[in-house]
C-alpha cells in the first residue's frame, strides 16, 4: 500500500455548514481554553516522563484537531515540527475509518511515510466525544494529540540517527498507527511488542506519560464540550480557523505581487554526495501564496531525504516567522499555502528512503531558501529560522567512575547560525524558533561524562557582517579524559548561513577531532567512530549567522562598540565594514577615524557591491 502524503495534507472540509453564528467572544474563550489544554498536555509529559529527553528538553508539541483532522489549537516546542503531528492522525482517520475511533481509545504513530517527521518522533492521540445535537448520540468531536522526541527507536544505531542507513527500515521500528488503549483497556500485546523494539528500558514509561497527557486532554475537552455544547465548540473551531486564514490572506495581500526564486545548497549527504540543491519559486498573486520546489535535487543515490510532512513543517515555520506573531497557529494559517513539492525530489521522497539525516538537512534549508527568495520583497521579515547542525556530535566511551559505557550527545549550549534581523543585531545562541530549547551546560555535562569543557565563547569576526550583524558562532573545545570515539555528520562548511539584503554570510562550521595533537582529524562530511585518546581535545568552530544589509551602511559607532566587545576585530572592522579605527583596544583609546572611514567606504561603494565580500 502506498500512502500519498500530499493527499493527507490537502485541505479538508469544515465540520459545520453555512455561516457560523457563534459570537467572537465565545469563540475566543473556547480557543483560549483549548490552548490551555495543549499547554497542560505538554506540562503533564514534563512532570511524568522518566527520561531527560522528554522531561527536560521541551521538544514536544501538543495539538487539538477537529474530527476531520484539522488543526484547532496547539502548544509548540519547536515550530518546524508542529505540523508533522497532524498528518499521522489524518492517516489513522483515513486508514481505520471514523468507526474505529471509540471513546476511551488511544493511538500511537511514528512513521515518516505515514505523515510523521522522523522515527524518534512519537505521536500519541485520542478522540474526544460529545452528544450530537440532532441525534443525541455521542460522536467524535475533537482529537487530542501529543508528539515527543524519544531517545531511541530501535534500528542499527542507538538514538535514532543512523545516518548511513540505506533505507527507512535500517533506521528503526516503524509504527504507522497502533491502538494502544482500546476503549480504556491497555493493549498489553501491543505495548510489549513496542517495548522489545526499543533499547531504552523506560521507553514504555515515557510513552505512558504521553498516553496520560492525551487522556488528561480528553477529560478536559470533555468538560469543555459539556459546558458549551458540541455545536458551539465546532463552530468556534471553524470560526478561529477562518479567522487565521483571513489574517494570513491579508498579510499575503500586502506583499508585492510577483514571482521570486532562490537556490541554496547542502554541502553533502552523510555519504559525501556533494551540493544537494534546493530551488524554490514563490508566487505572490493578490492574497494567494504558492511555494513551488520544482527544480530541487532528485538524485536517487542521495542519502538525505525530507518527507513531504517534514518539508511542509519547515515551510510553515519559516512563513510564520515572517508574519504577525499574534496570528493563531491553526489549520487556517497553513491551508492557505499552495505547496508544490515534486514526488521523488529530496523534499518529497518516494517511500522507503532514509530520513534521519534529511529531516534536518535539507529540511532546515527549506526555511533558508524561502527567506532567500522573499528577501527582495520582504527584506525586513527575512530571517531564516535555520540551523546547520548536521547531527549531534556523539561521543562514546567507558566512564571510569561507574565502569559503564556512556553516550554523550553533546546536547550542550553553543552559539551558531543565527541571522541578524532588520534593525537588530543577532543575539543569544540560535534563531528565535528554537528559543524553547534548554540545553545542558559544562557543570551539568561534566558531572555526567568524563569530559572537560574548556570553552564555547563567541568567535571574533565569525558573525556575518551587515548593517546589522549576524551572531558569532562558538569556539567550542572539549577534552575527553578517557579514550573515546566520535560519530557525527557535519554540514555548513561549504555553504554557511547566507546574508540577507546585502549582508554577508557567516563563517562556516569546522570540526576538528584530536585538535591540537600531532594527528588532527578534520571532519569532511561524516565522522564514523573516529578514536580519541584520553587528554585529547575536540574543537568545533560553529558557523556564524548571516548579516542583514550592506555592512558599509553600519553605523561606525556600532562597529566601534563591536570591536570594544570583541565581536569584531580591528582588522575586521576595516576589512568587512570599511571602518578605520585609531588608538588601541588594549588602552581603551579606540576611536573612529571619520575621514578615513568615509574615504574607504566611498571607494568600496564605487568598486561595487561585491567588494569586501568574503
Amino acid at each position: 500500500m502506498h500512502v500519498d502524503i500530499t493527499e493527507l495534507a490537502r485541505s479538508r472540509p469544515r465540520i459545520t455548514t453555512g455561516a457560523t453564528t457563534i459570537d467572537p467572544v465565545t469563540a475566543e474563550v473556547i480557543r483560549d481554553t483549548m490552548e490551555t489544554v495543549c499547554f497542560e498536555m505538554a506540562v503533564y509529559v514534563s512532570r511524568t516522563a522518566t527520561t531527560p529527553i522528554l522531561n527536560q528538553s521541551n521538544e514536544r508539541n501538543a495539538t487539538i484537531l477537529d474530527a476531520r483532522g484539522r488543526l484547532a489549537a496547539l502548544s509548540v516546542g519547536i515550530p518546524q515540527f508542529m505540523l508533522t503531528s497532524t498528518l499521522p492522525v489524518r492517516f489513522a482517520l483515513d486508514f481505520l475509518g471514523v468507526e474505529e475511533f471509540r471513546e476511551g481509545d488511544v493511538f500511537v504513530a511514528n512513521d515518516p511515510y505515514h505523515g510523521g517527521g522522523h522515527l524518534p518522533d512519537y505521536n500519541v492521540f485520542a478522540p474526544v466525544f460529545g452528544p450530537d445535537l440532532a441525534t443525541g448520540e455521542r460522536r467524535m468531536v475533537l482529537i487530542a494529540s501529543i508528539q515527543c522526541h524519544h531517545g531511541d527507536t530501535g534500528g542499527a544505531v542507538p538514538g535514532g540517527y543512523n545516518v548511513t542507513a540505506n533505507d527507512i527500515w535500517g533506521e528503526g521500528s516503524r509504527w504507522p498507527v497502533l491502538k494502544v488503549i482500546d476503549q480504556g483497556r491497555e493493549r498489553r500485546d501491543v505495548l510489549y511488542a513496542m517495548s522489545v523494539n526499543n533499547r531504552i528500558p523506560d521507553y514504555i514509561g515515557d510513552l505512558r506519560a504521553q498516553i496520560g497527557a492525551a487522556q488528561l486532554a480528553v477529560e478536559r475537552l470533555g468538560e469543555l464540550i459539556e459546558r458549551w455544547g458540541v455545536p458551539q465548540v465546532e463552530e468556534s473551531v471553524d470560526y478561529m480557523i477562518d479567522y487565521a486564514a483571513r489574517r494570513f490572506r491579508e498579510e499575503v495581500a500586502a506583499w508585492p505581487d510577483g514571482t521570486y526564486e532562490a537556490d541554496t545548497y547542502v554541502d553533502h549527504d552523510p555519504l559525501g554526495h556533494p551540493d544537494i540543491h534546493l530551488h524554490v519559486k514563490i508566487d505572490v498573486a493578490g492574497e494567494r501564496l504558492t511555494i513551488d520546489f520544482t527544480g530541487t535535487d532528485d538524485r536517487q543515490e542521495i542519502q538525505a531525504w525530507s518527507t513531504f510532512g517534514n518539508t511542509r513543517g519547515y515551510t510553515v515555520g519559516q512563513i510564520a516567522a515572517m508574519m504577525d506573531p499574534e496570528i493563531p497557529k491553526n489549520e487556517g494559517f497553513f491551508e492557505e499555502i499552495e505547496l508544490v513539492v515534486p514526488p521523488g525530489c529530496v523534499l518529497n521522497p518516494s517511500p522507503g528512503k532514509p530520513v534521519s539525516a534529511g529531516t534536518h538537512h535539507p529540511g532546515a534549508e527549506v526555511g533558508e531558501v524561502i527567506a532567500l527568495a522573499l528577501q527582495h520583497v520582504l527584506p525586513e521579515k527575512a530571517v531564516p529560522q535555520v540551523y546547520k547542525t548536521g547531527i549531534p556530535t556523539v561521543i562514546v566511551g567507558v566512564d571510569p567512575r561507574t565502569g559503564a559505557s556512556f553516550t554523550d550527545h553533546s546536547a550542550e549550549v553553543y552559539a551558531g547560525w543565527c541571522n541578524a534581523a532588520y534593525g537588530m543585531d543577532a543575539w543569544g545562541c540560535q534563531a528565535a524558533a528554537f528559543g524553547n530549547l534548554w540545553k545542558a551546560t559544562a557543570e551539568i555535562n561534566e558531572s555526567l561524562y568524563p569530559h572537560v569543557q574548556w570553552g564555547r565563547d563567541y568567535r571574533t569576526d565569525s558573525g556575518g557582517p551587515g548593517q546589522w550583524r549576524g551572531l558569532c558562532g562558538s569556539h567550542y573545545v572539549k577534552e575527553v579524559r578517557v579514550d573515546a570515539k566520535v560519530y557525527t555528520y557535519v554540514v555548513g562548511m561549504k555553504y554557511p548561513m547566507p546574508g540577507i539584503a546585502g549582508g554577508h554570510a557567516g563563517e562556516p562550521n569546522l570540526l576538528t577531532i584530536r585538535y591540537g595533537s600531532d594527528d588532527p582529524h578534520v571532519v569532511r562530511h561524516t565522522a564514523d567512530w573516529v578514536p580519541m585518546s584520553a587528554g585529547q581535545r575536540l574543537c568545533y568552530d560553529y558557523g556564524g549567522g548571516g548579516g542583514w544589509g550592506d555592512p558599509l551602511d553600519r553605523d561606525p559607532q556600532a562597529v566601534l562598540d563591536d570591536v570594544l566587545d570583541e565581536y569584531v576585530s580591528v582588522e575586521g572592522a576595516e576589512r568587512d565594514y570599511g571602518v578605520v579605527l585609531t588608538g588601541s583596544l588594549a588602552d581603551l583609546t579606540l576611536a573612529v577615524d571619520e575621514a578615513a572611514t568615509a574615504t574607504l567606504r566611498a571607494s568600496r561603494r564605487t568598486a561595487g557591491p561585491s567588494a569586501g565580500e568574503r
Partner: protein, 693 residues
C-alpha cells in the same frame, strides 16, 4: 514585646502600612509612595500612624515600636528601569558568554525581531580568567593571579564599581573566588561591591549562577544604600528594635543579610501579598487555596497547599534574567483594571497593555479614550459611580460607555452593555486560564481548592474567575487591600542555605557529609543569633539534595538525623528519595543509585501573629447595612442588586446574591444564586453554589 508592630509595603503608587497595637488591634493606612526616595514615604506613613494613635510626635511613637518589617520594590524598580550599578564580571576563561547564550532560551519563538535583554555587563566588561576546577573539586588549572589583577584594572578603567566573580565549580571549591576577592580589594579598595557566585548561589549550573550573581551585583549597591538610609533614619527618630526586610522566599531577615544577598528581595511585594493571604486563610481555617491578586496592571496568583505557598527553586525569570534563588511561586499575567480592550482584525483582545494609573481608565476622566476592564466594571454596575476609592473618586460612567461603544461595540456590532460583557468574559477567561496553567504545573485540581481574592479588583472579579474554574468557594478578607503589608508583618525569619557535594550515594564520604550539615547549621545559627527570637520559636530542617543520574533538577530529601547521620541512615535516605520522587513526579527507579548533589538547610524563626484581622462592624441583618440598589449585569439581563456598607457588617452577617458589598478600597460582587457570609476572622466567604456545599 508589648509595643506596636508595623508592616510596610512600598508599592508603585501607594505605601501601605499595617500596625498591630499593644491591644492587638489591626490598623490599616496608606500614603503616596515617594519614588525618588522610598524612605521619605515610609517615614511619612509612620508619622501618620503616630498621629492616629495619639502620639505627640514620630519620635515618641518610634520608641514604642517593637519591630518594623519592610517590603521594598527597590530591587524590582532597578531591574525595570535597568539603572543599577556599573557591573564588571571576572569569569572562567572560555565561559565569558554564558550570560548572552542563555542556554538557547528566547522568550518569543515566533518573533525573530524580539530584542536581546539589556545587558548588565557588556562583553568588554566580562574578563576571562585562566583557572579551572573540575566537577569534583580537582584543580585543573591554577588561578592566574596576574590575569585577575589586570582584569580588575581593566574593569576600573571601564568605570565598573561593582564586580561579580563566577568561576566554574566554585561551589565545590571556592578557593579561587575567595582569593580573587582578596586581589580585587588590593587592586581596587574603593570598589562599591563584590559578589562571589558561590556565596550568592552555592550550586550549578553556571548560566543560572552567573545570571543570579550579575543581578545581585547590579542591585546590591542600591539596596545597601536604601536599607542603610532607612535604618539610619529610623534610628535617628528613636527606633531601637529590629528592622526586617521581606525576601522572595516569603521570610524576613535583617538589613545586613539582605544587603549581601540583594537578589533575594526581588518580588518581595507580591510575595508579601501571598504571605498575607496565607495568614488570613489560616485564620479562616482554609489550607488549600489559590491566592489571586488583581490590581491595576497585573493579575498575580500563587498556589498554597497545606497552608504553605509553593516555593519554586528553578525557572524563576524576572525582568529577562534567571534568578536561581528559591522564590514563592507568584505568577503574573497582564490582566488588571487598567488593561486596555481593543478589537484587532475582528478579534476582541484585552491587555496586556495597560492604561496604568495615568491616564488610567476612561472613567477616571483623565483624558484617556481607550476603554479598560475598570470601564467595563463601571458600565455593568459592579463599581459605583460615586464613592469609589474610599470616597475620593467619582467615575464617569457615560464616558466609559461611549468609549466601549466606539472601540469595541461598533467593530463587533454589539451595544455598549454586550461589548462591556465581552470585555469581562475575555479578561476573566484569561485569568482563569493563567490560573489553570500554574495549577497544571503542580498537578493540582482547582475544583478542590478555595480562592483567596485581594488587590483592588480581586473581589470584583473573583466570582467570575472561580466559576470559570469550577471553584465553589471564595474568601475576601477585610484586610485584603493591604495584604502585602500584612504579609511582611506576620512573615517568619527564613534562612535557606545550600552547600554543594556531588557524589553517588554509595560513595558518600560520611565525615564530609556530616561536616557540611554541621557547617550549614552553624551558619544558620549565626544568622539568627541577633534576631533575639525566644527559645523554641526556631524550626530547622536539614535536607540532602538528590537526583537520578541525568536529571538536571534536585529534590530536597529531609535528614531528620541531622549532622549525626550514620552509615545505616544512608539506606533510609535512598528510600526516602525514591518515595518522594514517586509521590511528586509519579515514578521512581528503585534499582538505580541516586546521586547526592548537596545539602540544604531551611530555618524558620516564628514571629508573633495578630489574633484577628481588620476592624468589624456590628450589623448582622443585611437589610440594616443596605445603602440602596444598583442595576448590575451578570450576563443575562439587568438585575437590581442591593448595595451594602461593608464597614457596618459584623461577623455572622449572611447576604444572598445578587448583592454588592462596598468596602473602603474594593467591592465584593455577589452574583445571583451565591451567598456571602462574614466569618469570625473577618473574611467574607462567598459560596457560588450554596445548595451544593
Amino acid at each position: 514585646m508589648s509595643g506596636y508592630r508595623v508592616g510596610i509595603d512600598v508599592g508603585g503608587t501607594f505605601t501601605d502600612l499595617i500596625a498591630v497595637t499593644p491591644s492587638s488591634e489591626v490598623v490599616l493606612d496608606k500614603t503616596p509612595t515617594t519614588l525618588d526616595d522610598q524612605s521619605r514615604g515610609v517615614l511619612t506613613g509612620l508619622a501618620q500612624l503616630a498621629d492616629r494613635f495619639g502620639f505627640a510626635d514620630l519620635g515618641s511613637f518610634c520608641r514604642e515600636l517593637d519591630v518594623v518589617v519592610h517590603g521594598t520594590t527597590t530591587a524590582d524598580n532597578t531591574m525595570i528601569e535597568m539603572n543599577g550599578a556599573a557591573v564588571g564580571l571576572l569569569v572562567t576563561e572560555g565561559h565569558r558568554d554564558e550570560i548572552e547564550m542563555r542556554r538557547v532560551h528566547k522568550e518569543k519563538i515566533w518573533d525573530p525581531s524580539y530584542p536581546a535583554p539589556p545587558p548588565i555587563a557588556r562583553r568588554r566588561a566580562r574578563i576571562p580568567i585562566p583557572q579551572r576546577h573540575g566537577y569534583d573539586g580537582e584543580e585543573l588549572l591554577a588561578l592566574d593571579e596576574a590575569a585577575v589583577r589586570a582584569g580588575v584594572q581593566r574593569l576600573k578603567a571601564l568605570g565598573c564599581d561593582s564586580i561579580a566573580v563566577m568561576y566554574l565549580f566554585s561551589f565545590v571549591d571556592p578557593s579561587h573566588e575567595l582569593r580573587t576577592r582578596e586581589i580585587i580589594l588590593e587592586e581596587y579598595p574603593e570598589v562599591a561591591h563584590i559578589s562571589l557566585s558561590h556565596e550568592v548561589m552555592a550550586r550549578g549550573p553556571e548560566f543560572e549562577r552567573v545570571s543570579t550573581t550579575l543581578v545581585n551585583a547590579y542591585v546590591a549597591p542600591k539596596i545597601a544604600r536604601y536599607v542603610g538610609n532607612l535604618e539610619a533614619e529610623l534610628r535617628a527618630a528613636g527606633f531601637a528594635g529590629p528592622l526586617l526586610v521581606m525576601q522572595s522566599t516569603g521570610g524576613v531577615m535583617p538589613p545586613d543579610y539582605v544587603s549581601r544577598r540583594a537578589v533575594s528581595v526581588l518580588a518581595s511585594g507580591p510575595t508579601g501579598g501571598v504571605m498575607g493571604a496565607t495568614v488570613a486563610a489560616r485564620a479562616a481555617g482554609v489550607g488549600d487555596f489559590v491566592a489571586v491578586d488583581m490590581g491595576g496592571t497585573s493579575y498575580d496568583l500563587c498556589l498554597v497547599r497545606h497552608g504553605a505557598p509553593e516555593i519554586k527553586t528553578d525557572w524563576n525569570w524576572r525582568y529577562r534574567y534567571y534568578i536561581g534563588m528559591p522564590m514563592v511561586d507568584v505568577q503574573s499575567v497582564g490582566a488588571g483594571g487598567g488593561s486596555i480592550a481593543r478589537v484587532r482584525q475582528g478579534a476582541l483582545l484585552v491587555g496586556p497593555e495597560s492604561a496604568g494609573s495615568t491616564p488610567g481608565p476612561v472613567c477616571y476622566g483623565r483624558g484617556s479614550t481607550e476603554p479598560t476592564v475598570t470601564d467595563a466594571d463601571v458600565v455593568l454596575g459592579y463599581l459605583p459611580a460615586t464613592g469609589f476609592a474610599s470616597g475620593r473618586m467619582t467615575l464617569d460612567v457615560d464616558a466609559a460607555r461611549t468609549a466601549i461603544e466606539t472601540a469595541v461595540g461598533a467593530p463587533l456590532g454589539l451595544d455598549a452593555t454586550h461589548a462591556a460583557w465581552g470585555i469581562e468574559r475575555i479578561v476573566n477567561a484569561n485569568m482563569a486560564n493563567a490560573t489553570r496553567k500554574v495549577l497544571a504545573g503542580y498537578g493540582a485540581d482547582p475544583r478542590t481548592m478555595a480562592m483567596i481574592a485581594y488587590g483592588g479588583n480581586g473581589a470584583v472579579h473573583a466570582w467570575a474567575i472561580a466559576r470559570e474554574l469550577g471553584m465553589g468557594r471564595v474568601l475576601v478578607p477585610k484586610t485584603a487591600p493591604a495584604f502585602s503589608a500584612l504579609g511582611v508583618l506576620v512573615a517568619d525569619y527564613v534562612v535557606d542555605l545550600v552547600r554543594s557535594y556531588v557524589v553517588p550515594l554509595s560513595q558518600v564520604d560520611l565525615p564530609h557529609l556530616r561536616s557540611l550539615l554541621a557547617d550549614v547549621a552553624d551558619e544558620a545559627g549565626k544568622e539568627l543569633a541577633h534576631t533575639e527570637l525566644p527559645d523554641g520559636s526556631v524550626h530547622t530542617e536539614l535536607y540532602v539534595l538528590m537526583a537520578y543520574q541525568g536529571q538536571n533538577f534536585d529534590m530536597s530529601v529531609p535528614v531528620p538525623e541531622g549532622p549525626g547521620i550514620a552509615d545505616v541512615d544512608l539506606l533510609d535516605l535512598a528510600d526516602r528519595f525514591h518515595d518522594r520522587h514517586e509521590a511528586e513526579r509519579g515514578f521512581a527507579f528503585r534499582h538505580q543509585q541516586p546521586l547526592v548533589r548537596g545539602v540544604r538547610l531551611v530555618a524558620h524563626g516564628t514571629t508573633p501573629k495578630p489574633d484577628h484581622l481588620g476592624e468589624a462592624g456590628t450589623v448582622t441583618d443585611p437589610a440594616a447595612a443596605t445603602k440602596g440598589t444598583r442595576a448590575v449585569w451578570f450576563g443575562d439581563g439587568w438585575v437590581d442588586a442591593p448595595v451594602l456598607d461593608g464597614k457596618a457588617l459584623g461577623p455572622g452577617a449572611s447576604i444572598d446574591g445578587p448583592a454588592l458589598i462596598e468596602e473602603p478600597f474594593t467591592v465584593v460582587v455577589v452574583p445571583p444564586g451565591a451567598r456571602c457570609t462574614l466569618g469570625p476572622s473577618l473574611a467574607y466567604e462567598l459560596l457560588l453554589d450554596p445548595a451544593s456545599t
